[in-house]
């Protein structure tokens, strides 16, 4: 493999491998046998052909910021890190398209396009360190998907390498293209199990010129959810629409040392608006403020300047870190139809209480996408089986409400055996058939996404 990527870019020492053994789940540790960091698509192609012939597992890695273990080399073999393929190849202002290699950091791309007055909306919270290739593989979301949709909505085309080393380009700068199956969309969100994405053509829009943030406490979760419903019914489309429950606000504000008014408020709504003029955004934000008050908001805080807006976001942004420091569970990522958000939170509380757990709920309300963390009393005193049962209960509840077990984190390692909760037998069979069709030797990211799939046969043959 040193002959393919260069000796300096193949790591095999245990000390070097450690960094590539973890992601943002933190609890999961799976070291690859080697890390290979190709610089070109041709190197990726040669590496895959080499590994496919020898039945060596290949796990594509981006920024390793995933929340579902999707980029961990659970069966050893090669971790293929795209970090060195980090060129922004073009920002085409005429066609509103950016062309980026898979290893470009999302925020780096965003800043580069914004310098040209353009805008790439997808904003996973890891955007400072996650990579475009990983965003594509996971179909990453983020707060902005409330208005702009998830990563996949912005992908016009991909360059990708199949397991046997063959390279394809699935699209480009053309906005409409129905020539054959939509392989772009099939690869987006396939979590590196069907091909390795090496390059992406990304759709851009004009950068908004004005922004505003609204933050409002509510006496009850139901009132807050009703306000989100009313906001949308009244034709307002916030660019972010977050719901945060009282426990999450408490732990975050405490960790950050920020005082938050109305500490007893059961729920808070955080809205962003953006637009093409200050007038437009002011109109939206004023209308939103009135709706929130009509729906029972205890108070409404508005901010249009960047520093104050960041202040309103502080509590929301601090949640994950603060909760994690309490030593609680991985972040669940269920999603339901918007109308089912209150029943979902009620279900989460019922299930948690029954198991003696404390739930924290926060997430992207406009998308019905709720993140849940469960705190064990006494840090681990609870038997694992009861904890796992509660987690599974929450997934089942989301599906029961017409929703799904993952809205934006992906299936990866941690959800693959729960996928049958969400997908019927014919769907799972079709997934397996597609996987078998495109990666017949099963070398690409084995042990992920597909329930029960393991790399055993691969290892036996290798």
């Amino acid at each position: 493999m040193a002959g393919i990527a260069g000796e300096a870019h193949v790591l095999v020492a245990a000390g070097d491998l450690a960094a590539y053994a973890k992601d943002w789940t933190r609890d999961l540790v799976h070291a690859p046998s080697a890390v290979v960091k190709p610089r070109t698509t041709e190197e990726v192609s040669r590496l895959l052909a080499f590994c496919d012939g020898r039945r060596i597992p290949v796990t594509p890695q981006g920024g390793r910021t995933g929340m579902s273990g999707g980029a961990l080399a659970v069966h050893g073999g090669v971790a293929l890190s795209v970090e060195r393929m980090n060129a922004i190849l073009e920002i085409d202002e005429g066609n509103f398209v950016a062309v980026a290699e898979a290893g470009v950091v999302t925020q780096t791309l965003q800043e580069a396009v914004e310098e040209k007055g353009l805008f790439y909306p997808p904003d996973p919270s890891s955007r400072g360190s996650c990579l475009i290739g990983g965003n594509v593989a996971e179909n990453a979301g983020g707060p902005h998907s409330a208005k702009y949709g998830v990563t996949g909505k912005w992908v016009l085309g991909l360059e990708a390498v199949f397991a046997d080393g063959r390279v394809t380009v699935t699209g480009g700068k053309t906005r409409k293209d129905v020539a054959g199956y939509d392989l772009t969309a099939l690869l987006v969100g396939s979590e590196g199990t069907l091909a390795v994405v090496t390059k992406a053509w990304l759709r851009l829009i004009a950068k908004p010129v004005a922004w505003a943030t609204v933050f409002a406490p509510f006496p009850s979760l139901a009132a807050a959810a009703q306000a989100v419903f009313e906001i949308h019914r009244r034709r307002l489309v916030p660019s972010a629409c977050e719901l945060i429950d009282r426990p999450s606000v408490q732990v975050s504000s405490k960790a950050k040392g920020i005082g938050v008014p109305f500490p007893a408020a059961e729920a808070r709504i955080l809205l962003d608006f953006d637009g093409g003029s200050e007038d437009e955004v002011e109109r939206d934000v004023t209308a939103a403020g009135e709706i929130l008050l009509t729906c029972g908001a205890l108070d409404v805080a508005l901010a249009t300047d960047e520093t104050k807006r960041r202040g309103l976001w502080d509590v929301r942004r601090g949640i994950a870190e603060a909760i994690h420091d309490l030593g609680v569970s991985v972040e669940l990522d269920v999603a339901v139809p918007r109308s089912e958000l209150v029943p979902l939170v009620e279900g989460v509380r019922r299930i948690a209480e029954r198991a003696g757990l404390h739930p924290f709920c926060y997430g992207h309300a406009a998308d019905g996408n709720l993140h849940v963390r469960l705190l064990r009393e006494g840090h681990g005193a609870l038997e694992t089986s009861r904890f796992d049962e509660a987690v599974k209960g929450i997934y089942s509840e989301a599906v029961h409400l017409g929703g799904t077990i993952t809205g934006e984190h992906g299936v990866g390692l941690i959800l693959k055996d729960l996928l049958p909760l969400r997908r019927d037998a014919a769907f799972l069979a079709a997934m397996r058939a597609v996987k078998q069709a495109l990666d017949p030797n099963g070398i690409l990211n084995p042990g992920k996404v597909l329930p029960g799939q393991t790399v055993r046969q691969v290892q036996n043959q290798g």
Copy 2:
């Protein structure tokens, strides 16, 4: 098969089959051996299992308004018409979702959701007779895709039946869902070759409350294209953005008996704007008018009332019919990056002139999606081979400019052997592998989309 769908819903008499042998290509005629019109998903499932077991080709049919022969039973067998599965099952105002069976007429759905103040934007020009199932299968476009994107952007989930009769549901009312491969997106645009779509969950938005239309003649095509570029650069997003060349305007206005000012204008631009308030639309349309004049428009006509707007659209709407009555070629449907529209039209003219043909060009400028018709001097005097060569030259030119051979009509029958112009070997191999994985006996819409694919082996086995 009468035992599955009921005797009244199985047609075998030649007279009954004739209507199911044609689509809007008009020149193509391929009668099925039988037409079956199931009413339920269960009937579709039983029918497919029956045909799969006996290797009988099944060609799904919607409104038979396709422009690429995709719904014609070129290898005989069963035409599965979904026309009786025509219930709008739900319009969920809280979640902005419509649930419709595959046989619902697109315009019928649009009118039903608009009655509730909601909006389903995709608007193929056949919307009065095409069906949702066909729109999904073809990933249909239309003028509105300038702002709103094609059908696929609005599909949240599908109920679909695989070749062996197994039924799956790929999504639903949840807006974010990354649990497994995106089979919804894989089935959208697969032209009935991977599964039969029986039901769709469609995303809706609030209905715009104001509309305006702008129509402007330009002395040159280049000036008109530059105006389209400027419109978008200045952050305006028209809900339709059509470009029409002089020959197309001439033939349409003559056929309709409408006088059009500035008859010598080489190009015309037709823009629609919609929005949440009359003020907003007026601002947009005024700004657009100024930009058009700055870019060299000879005149700008504005209309906000429905009747006058329809008047401005008359010439555009009449083109296809008027040109077809001249007996010219099927409508080509090439698409390129927006910036390449002028080079594309220039290429079309060069190729046509060389072959002694007269080109008509019109289409969706914001999407770079150009429709072309070629008029043979003396109606058919030209040898077919030279005509076909010119057509192929235009497809090649579009691909050469970074574009594609079909922006919204689909590959169907007429483009399948040209698909390698647009798709590389790895892409085609992946398509074939996916087709083989999901329809191993090749019964679903054989002879379509995939180059060289025929049903021969199916007939031998049947």
